[in-house]
């Protein structure tokens, strides 16, 4: 009798797991891919970011000075970002986008959209 109960519990657990699995996978796959660039100490990190088309990129300014994110060809252009402010760009179109901080133009970065 004990053995039967044990088998039943195991089967129930496995069954629950099998049913739950697709839901778990689905919640990870839902929504666009995301990527992050951190701004700190007058540097964009990573300096070159490579993403797949359709990725949503978020820049966060962790510096104690305001910065901007402006692509050389004006494809994307943030407003001024003070500390902890963010800028988001949906990288839909493949290409290489060089960008810089228009306030401190020595700060440069690159986004490669594949």
């Amino acid at each position: 009798m004990k053995n039967t109960r044990w088998w039943v519990s195991l089967a129930a657990t496995l069954l629950t797991g099998l049913i739950a699995l697709p839901f778990v996978e689905k919640s990870v796959a839902a929504g666009p891919a995301v990527a992050e660039v951190k701004i700190d100490n007058f540097i964009f990190t990573p300096a070159t970011l490579t993403v797949k088309a359709g990725t949503r990129i978020t820049w966060t300014n962790a510096d104690d000075i305001p910065h901007t994110v402006v692509s050389d060809d004006q494809t994307f252009k943030s407003k001024v970002l003070d500390t902890n402010e963010t800028f988001t760009f949906n990288a839909d179109k493949p290409g290489t986008y060089s960008y810089f901080c228009s306030v401190h133009p020595k700060m440069t970065g690159k986004v490669i959209v594949q």
Partner: protein, 322 residues
């Protein structure tokens, strides 16, 4: 000229230009103690405090004014949580000068985020200065978002283009330049073709004995290109001033005093009234430098400039808030 990597190095690298380096180094050693260094015909003479008192009894043709810079109104991070108080302290310093300055030059970064209340606050504080006339040039923090529209509405009534202009006082020709607009990726400060053409024309008919003072936010000499401390097309601007016997260039942006003499041109940067920044290369980035609270005011200050007509020279005195 070799890239300068520190304030001291830039002062020393003038081997072949005939400048009195020993006198200059002596002056630099006194800098910050209220000593007066006067450049006369390429020779620097230093004067102590008593001499300063005598010299500041300005004669009729003389001129005294003050440079302040980088008030960054609106900044509120740990490097200085009260930029209002330190700007007020700078005004107190101006008001305590033995001679009332004819006017104030503000070399930019008036505000931190180009916001209207920030501009208003600075205007309000400067109202209590003894000198009622203030001449501005914008810093990169003053032209955010709107391409300088607000700055021009407030301070650019008699200016051309992005805000450049000139005026004369007591025979000295003052030129305010704007080098913080249309900055290019990877570049430094920029004057642009239109402004350079205007400058060439502006000084064309001046006699070479006219003392010229140029003021602009970003340094007009390459202090530290890695941090953007310089102006890409300043050489062309300076070429128009080559024939003048006395040229003084007053800049801000780097939040520390630094001076260079090259021929008849004296370059000088002012401290900020808001927060200090590190020496070139001494930190990972040129951002606000946090120091112990009791040290802050010793790294902020104003610059007092005296033009002594009979010497045909301008004397620069930096003094800190404390």
């Amino acid at each position: 000229m070799a890239e300068q990597r520190s304030g001291d190095a830039s002062l020393l690298n003038h081997i072949h230009d005939g400048i009195d380096r020993r006198g200059f180094l002596k002056c630099m050693a006194w800098a910050g103690t209220g000593a007066l260094c006067v450049l006369q015909g390429g020779v620097l003479k230093s004067y102590g405090f008593d001499d300063v008192a005598r010299m500041t009894k300005l004669a009729k043709g003389d001129l005294s004014f003050v440079q302040i810079s980088d008030s960054h109104m609106g900044f509120n991070k740990p490097a200085n949580s009260d930029v209002v108080a330190t700007l007020k302290a700078a005004v107190d310093k101006i008001n305590a000068l033995p001679v009332e300055p004819a006017f104030i030059l503000h070399t930019g970064d008036i505000t931190h985020l180009s916001k209207a209340p920030e501009f208003d606050a600075v205007d309000q504080i400067l109202k209590s200065a003894s000198a009622k006339n203030v001449f501005f040039v914008p810093g990169e923090h003053d032209v955010l978002e709107d391409n300088g529209k607000q700055y021009l509405e407030r301070y650019g009534k008699n200016a051309k283009g992005a805000g450049w202009y000139s005026f004369d006082q007591k025979g000295v020709h003052f030129i305010g330049l704007v080098n913080v607009m249309n900055l290019k990726a990877g570049g430094m400060g920029s004057l642009g073709g239109e402004q350079l053409e205007w400058l060439e024309d502006d000084v064309r008919h001046l006699s070479k004995s006219t003392p010229v003072v140029v003021f602009a936010h970003m340094p007009l000499w390459n202090i530290y290109p890695e941090w953007g401390w310089g102006t890409d097309d300043s050489a062309q601007a300076l070429s128009y001033l080559k024939r003048f016997g006395s040229v003084t260039v007053l800049n801000g942006h780097i939040h520390q005093t630094m001076q260079k003499v090259e021929g008849n041109v004296t370059f000088h940067t002012a401290t900020s009234t808001a927060f200090p920044q590190p020496h070139p290369g001494a930190a990972p980035s040129p951002g606000p430098m946090k120091v112990p609270a009791e040290q802050l005011r010793s790294l902020l200050g104003v610059t007092h400039v005296n033009y002594v007509a009979k010497h045909h020279s301008l004397a620069l005195i930096d003094s800190t808030l404390e």
